[in-house]
Every structure is written in structure tokens, then in C-alpha cells.
Amino acid sequence: MAGPGNSDGLSRGKALVFASIALLIISAYLVRLFSMQVVDNYIYREQADEVSRRSERIPTRRGEIFDRNFDQPLVTNIDTFAVLLDLSSVPADGLQELIERLAEYLNTESSYIWSRIPAVRNQSFSAYEIWSGASYHQIARIAENIDRFPGVSWESRATRYYTQGALLAHVLGYTGEITAEELQILYNEGYAGAREIGKTGVERQYDNILRGEDGIRFGRVDARGRRIYDLEDIPPTLGNSIVLTIDRHIQDLVEMALGPRNGAALVLDPSNGEILAMASYPDYDPNIFYTSELEGSIQALYDDPRSPLLNRTIQAAGSPASTFKTLMTAALLQEGTFDPHDEIFCPGYVQVGDRIFRCHDLDGHGSLDLYEALAESCNVYFYTIGKDYLGVQAIVDYSHQFGLGDVSGIDLPGEVRGLLPDPEWKERTYGVPWVGGDTVNMSIGQGFMTVTPLQMANLVAGIINDGTIYQPHVLKEIRYQDSLELIQRFEPRVLRDVGVSPEVLEQVRIAMRGVITEGTANVVITTRDTEVAGKTGTGQSGQEDYKHSWFIAYAPFNAQPGESQYVVVVWVDATNEWEWWAPKAANIIIHGITNNMTFEEAVEDLQPLWYMTRTQLREYLESIDAGGIEE
């Protein structure tokens, strides 16, 4: 019984079982290793590379926005601080206390800070951003007591700052974090790494000019996030700055003149389409979008039924009312179907079918020719003209030519087209045919038609320019952010020609001048420093007891060679039609622009004003100084 292979050793069968099990598993492992390391190697290599390669944004600086005076920015970037909290350095039992202390130092509720910390926390190192928009002062206080704030750090962030507060808010717009939806749409336009994007106004319209491009600092990090070595940086490209056509002094005048009244006002240079002022009320201070502190106010803004975010000069439309009679005047004169010097008798109403249409003067204006009818804004005259001498199609055609019912293509987002109805549209929408009454209504700018203040400004511009309407715009120049050198200037371009002869338009201008000298606006347009021409209007707003007060005007009436003219359009929700704020505001605006005055100086200079005495002005100005206008 000596030697190997005796029966006391392991039997060959069992040896084979053991060997098979061992070799089978080893082979299986080798197959697995081969498939991981050789076949799928590229996947893991990439994964390993990705895991350790970390890029860091080198933030760019968004371009600034200037007004046409180009002396100080309306929008710039300031450094505020984001407060970060690294939970791994906070003792477990000290978190509650720490957050309460932070809330006190940051002047907020601790519940807000709690809401920024996820319930399921990551074990590994990561800092949560618990606050943005902290001031230098707040950070300094925390820094002084840093031993009482374990795990707290801060990061300076360039934040948009609107130097003039609510001034021009609707035109400037604001920025915000890019949303997933926006990214999806803009991904192919190079927005892949962007974090901030313009949400409204110029910030949105010219986002690609303003935003610049973040740089990237590449590096490798180890598992604890420590930097191992740096690769080459890609430097950031600064955003370009924008100079607007807006004149902030005129803007201020316009906003003050509009005052705390829901409505819109704008000033346009008819010779090139430049918007000099564009105001909408209610307004807001865009700076609230940049501090955590004011998140509540943002919600209040969204919830406000008066829609403060709406730019009423281009994003709201209403019946043009009597201002439409200027277009009717132009159409009638061009068509020549009725002699402007022939008179029509106004008994105070007109009957069409079985409907009675009234004039605003219920006793009737008596007999008037075209010039008197426009000055007095006689409805009966224009009812008759519209129904018997022009017809609906001509009215629609001329409206088209003046750009009603269509966007102007102004370089601001969200412009609406209003509505230019015609028989076909009514049939399609309501299923009932266009009737004579509709034409009658349309003749005085009532009924289905709606227009935006900008469309009305263009209409006036067309009348002044012998038919040419320039593309309205707010962008004047693009400049380098650091050197301020000019990159590109916006060249004026013609938007449309209204197709009415210069002789006819001259007659329209004379008729509009008549509105001021002897017509409806005579008592309110008190400025004597320039000759104003215009047209009033009082439209239905859709709400009972709530009317739109319109005033479309330009000055000076007859420009001397080299003298520039400007169009002023004011559109206000009036609580009753006698308040008539639109022409009153326009009066102050025109007086202010003509004499290069502020609102205060203009009102002072226009005294005595029967609708705003010195006492009222003082109270009004004090209410503004006291921090905002309350309605």
C-alpha cells in the first residue's frame, strides 16, 4: 500500500469533479475579464476618464444695456453672494441651530433655508446652495463669526442689476435660469452649457448678443474632488453690450406722466422707427428676480390680476375707438368718393336697419364737413362715410396698408397682432354674415377691431412721413463690453408704405391739427411751445364702466427743415370717460420733450392746469418719494 494512487487518497472521480468546478469557474472569470477588458474596454475607459475629468465653468459676463445717451448703463452686473452649506462639516446635532442662526443673519425664515436642503442627503462631499443674492454686508457679518457657521461658505456671483429699478422694466426684461424646455429648443444654437437666459424684453430678444460664452477650466480630480492637475483653459468670451434707442430722460417723463394708471405710452421717432420711450403700467422692479429674499414678490407679480409683466404697448390690444377716424379720413380723401367740404347733418343718431347708432353728442352736431367732423369726432359723419361712401372692404384695405391687424416686427418678444376683422372673418368665427351695423361700428373704431398702441404710433408715423412707415425698433447699437467700440449699428429700414398720396396725408395732418386747435382736445392740450396734431379716442374695454382713453399725436405739426418730429401715443384705462387721462398725459409728455424738461418741470411750466394744480402735483410727487405709487 505504498506510493501514489493508493485507495486511501482521493478517488479519480472526485478529483475530476473538484478540478472541473475550479477550472470552470476560473475560465468563466477569464471570459468575463476578456469581455470587460478587451471587448468593452472603450466603455470603461471612457467611464474612467469621465469620472476623473471635471470641468469648471469660468463664468462670462453678460453685456450691459445702455440708453441712447450712452453715459451710464441701465443694466449692469454686480457681485452678490451665494451662500453654500456643506452638511458633512456640520455636527449632526448642530444643524437646527446653525440654520436658525443663518436665517437670522440673512434676514429670512429658517423654513426657507430648510426647503433648500434635500431630504435625502448625499453622503459624499457636496455643498448645497441655500441662498442667493446675499449682500456684501451680510457676508461680512457671517465671515466675522465664521467659527459659529461650520460648513458655510460663499461664492461671488455676477448678478444682473437694473440701475434704474422699474424704469423701462418691460423693454429691458429680465433673465433667469434656463429651463429644460428652453434648453431643448435652443440646444443646437450653442446653449448646451448655458445657465442663464433672457426671459423677456431685450434680455430675451438679444440674448445671443448679450450672453457671451462661458470658458471652461479642465482638470482632473480624485475621488474626494481634489484637483490633481490642470489642463488647458478655454477662456470665456464676454457678452456684447447694447445701446438702445430709448432716451431714459424721456422714458422717465413718460412713465411719470402715465403715472399710476393702467395703460401704456410710447414715443416714436417717425423718421427712422426708433422708440424713444415705451412705458407700461403696472410695472415692476426686475431686481426682485435676483434675490432669494424676494421670491414672494415674484409670486405676487405672477398672481397680480393686472398683469404687471405685460408690456401693454405691444402685448395688449383694444378698440382704437375714435382715433381710427384718422385712418377713415385718409381713406375717404384718397378714394375721393365724397367731397371733404360737403356737409353731413348729424341729428345725434343714425338708424341702420332696426338698430340705432348714437353720436357721443346726443343732441347732434348739426351739419359738418370732414375737418369739423374729425375735430368734433362726430360719429354720425363717419357712420355715413363708412356705410355709404367707403364700404367695409375699403376700410379693411386701408387698415391693412397702415399695418393694423399685423405685427410690426419690433425687436421685442411677444408682440400681438390685434384684430382686423372683415366679413369673411366674421362668417368664419361667428357663423353669421357681416351686416351694415358692423361696418358702421368699424367706421368709428368700435366693434371687433383691436389695435396695439404701437400699431397706432405706426399709423401716425405713416401720416407724417407721406406714407412711409419705418420698422420700429429699440436696438440702436451693439458695442464691445470692455472697449465699448462699435460693432454694429441698426440701420433704419422701411416697414411698409401706406399707399396714400402725400397730398391726401397733408390734408389728414391738417385735420388732425384741427382736433387740437378747435376740436375735442382743445381744452387739454395746453402746451403752446409746439404745435400738436392728434386725435382723441374713448373706447370700450369690454368691461362695464371701464373705458380706454386714447390719444395719438405728433409734434411739431409742421416741422421746419432739420427739425425732428415725434409721435406720442397714450392709452389709459379710464374709470370714467371724463377723466380723459390720455391727452392730459400726452400734453405733459409733449411739453416736456419740446422744452427738454422733467415731468415735474413740465407740469410746473404748464400751470395753471385745471386737472393738476401745484398742490396735487406736490402730493403726487411726495407719494412717489414715499416709495411707490399706490392706487
Binding site: 500500500m1 505504498a2 506510493g3 501514489p4 494512487g5 493508493n6 486511501d8 487518497g9 482521493l10 478517488s11 479519480r12 472526485k14 478529483a15 469533479v17 473538484f18 478540478a19 475550479a22 477550472l23 469557474i25 476560473i26 472569470y29 477569464l30 468575463r32 475579464l33 476578456f34 470587460m36 477588458q37 478587451v38 468593452d40 474596454n41 466603455i43 470603461y44 475607459r45 467611464q47 474612467a48 476618464d49 469620472v51 476623473s52 448625499n122 453622503q123 459624499s124 482632473r220 480630480v221 480624485d222 475621488a223 474626494r224 481634489r226 490633481i228
Partner: protein, 437 residues
Amino acid sequence: MMNRSIVSFDYLLLFSTLALIIIGILFIYSSGINADGIQTSNEFLRQIIWASIGAALMVSAALIKYDYYRDFAPYVYGGFILLIIFTLLFGSVVNGARSWIGLGPFGIQPSEFMKIGVILLLAHYLDRQGLRKIQSLQGFLLSLFIVAIPMGLILMQPDLGTAMVYLPIALFILYAAGARPLYLLFIIGIIIFTVIFTILPEWERMIYSGSIGFFVIFNERLYIILVASALLISIFIALAGYFILKKTYLFYTAYFFTMILIGFILSLGARWFLRDFQMMRLIVFLDPNVDPRGAGWNIIQSITAVGSGGLAGMGYLQGTQSHYQYLPAQSTDFIFSILSEEWGFAGGLIISTLYGIIIVRGIVIATQARDRFGSYLAIGVIAMLFFHFAINVGMTIGLMPITGIPLLFLSYGGSSLWTAMIGMGMLMSVSHYKFKY
């Protein structure tokens, strides 16, 4: 032939063992290199010291005639059991388990050395019993008892991984000794069912993230009792049927249901006993992305390191996952990952081949041993090496759950290295003294 075998050492075994140990030291050195290329650890120096002493232990163990081990087996076993109990009471906690006793910087893990004790006593016990006794249920259960005592003590530390590796070693020795496959399969079946029933409810909670109506049987007392009762009744009916009808399939039905029932009951115990982190290791084995920065981190980093190695690797000391410290426990549990990253598939092939040589050579030694004790001893040592390899390497490539089982010979650590080397010495002794004089 006789002469050669007396004077000649088992050089193939010696060479393979030393090669593995040297490769291990190389990569323990590599694992201490940080991202700046600076050596931050003296582990490789310590390992050289361990290996030098270990070599002396191995040669001594090889030169001692293994018959002496038989006589000392109960004392070795008993001694280490006492040491483990001492450790449980006075040991220090490392990685969450009270598994260390030591003085100053040097410490030992008795749970590693205990494997030698179990192999020796089991070989000794099975050698003394006749084949008839081994095949009896009583003999089988007694053998299991020898393993169950240290397993239970180690579970109390608690060190699940180390405890679990005892079981396959014991099953291999028992199979070699001729235990009935019916019993062995019963144990294996219970293990499988226990694992499945333990993981399933957690799988539902963590990965499936939904609710499967059927799973109330794991969570609600009433249903647990109902299921257990139903299984019990089925077993009784099957057994009754077997004794009346003498149909073997009824026996196997009862056999099968009993495995399920025991697995079911054990799984309830396991879910109660296992800590959350241990449960998470099982869950992330199924899907590491459940907790990629927590429990799944090790698996993900290890697989990434191995996979990025390629055919020939990134080069010695050139790995990124390892030197940027993404890879955890590089010198111990995940030494195979750093080796695979830097030496690629070629490195894995070398390690597998060396292990393969040792295992095949060990099995040959077992078949050639001059008595049963020597053959069981050889199988025990081979089983220990093989299961450490299978569990550790399987873990680094995502085929096994994460357990703290070292890769013997390569992983840093004196206790496991000495255990492996003493085991190799004993194997060499069996090879050396295979002839009766």
C-alpha cells in the same frame, strides 16, 4: 523516483506561491502611490516582513511530517476557538467587526487562522470515522457542527464574509470524504433559498421600486405563518405518502419542500440579523446604481478600473482609478482591480494561471496522498484558496457580492497571508510525505 521525491521539494507549488506573493507586494506598493506619484503608505514594507516570516512558516510546515498535525488538530482547533472568544470580548473593532487582537501596530485576525483549525479538525474527524459513519446523518451533522461553532462566533463579530467562506470549504472536504450528495445538496439548497428569500423583499423595495402583492408573504406576520404552515403540511403529506406508497418522487418532494421551508425561516432570521449596510451590499450586487455614491460605489469603481485595463493594462503605476483614489481598499479587498487596471487582461491571466496551477497540483496531491487525512487536508487547503479566489475576484468584476474576503497571497494583511502560506506548507508536506517508509 523515491529518492527524488524525498529530496525534492514541491517546486511548482513553491514557485507559484512566491510568484503570487511577489506580484501582491508589487501592487500593494502601487496602491500606496497617490495622484502626485508619491508613496504614502508603508504597507508594502510590512507585507515584505509578513511574507519573509510567512516563508519560514511555510517551509517549516512543509518539512514537518503532516501526521503530527493530526495529533495536534483538536488543540489547534480548540486554541483558536478560545482566541476568537477572547477577541469577541477584548478585541478591537476594525471595519465594523470585532475581529482583531493585537499589540501596538501588529495585530492578528484569529478568524483567518481558524480556517486552518477547521480544516485540520474536520480532516482528522472524518479520517477517524469509517465511511459508513460519514454517510450517516449523525456523522454528517457532527461534521457540520465542527464548522458551525467558529462560523457562529465569527458571525457575532460580525464578519459575514469571513464566516461564510467556511461553509464551502467544509462541503468540499465532506464531499471528498464521501458524505452523501443528498445531504450536501440539501445544505447547498438551503443556502440558495435563504439567499433568494433574503434578497427578494429588498429587491422589491430598492430596485423594483414598486409593490408586488405576492411579496406580503415576506413582510406580514399572518402570511408568513400561513406560508410556513402550508409548507409544513405539504412536507407531512409528502412524507406520509412516501411511507405509505414508497414512491421515491414523494421523498424528493418532501426533500425539496423542506429546503424551501428552512430557507424561508432562515431568511427571516437573516433579514432580522443583517445590518442595513450588509443588506445594501447584496442589493447593489444586483444593481450598483441604486446607490452609486454609497454602497454601489465600490462595485462601480472596481468594474471601471478593471474594464479600463484593456489587454495589456495601463502600465505598472499608471492606473487612474487607483491612483486618483477612486478605488477603495486597493491593497486589500480590491487588489485584483488595481492589478487588472495596470496589467490588464494579461495580469488577470497570469494570476488565474498561477492559481490554476496551485489548485490542479493540490488536487493531484490529494489523489496521491498516502492516507485519507492527508488527502482531506489537501482538499481543505485547496478549497480555502479557491473560494477566496472565486469570491474576491468575482466581487471585483461584479459577479459576486461585496464581502471583505481577501485574495490570498496578494491582498495586504499578515493574518491572511500567514494562513495561506501555512496552508501551502501543509499541502507541501502532504506532497512531500506521500510515501510510507
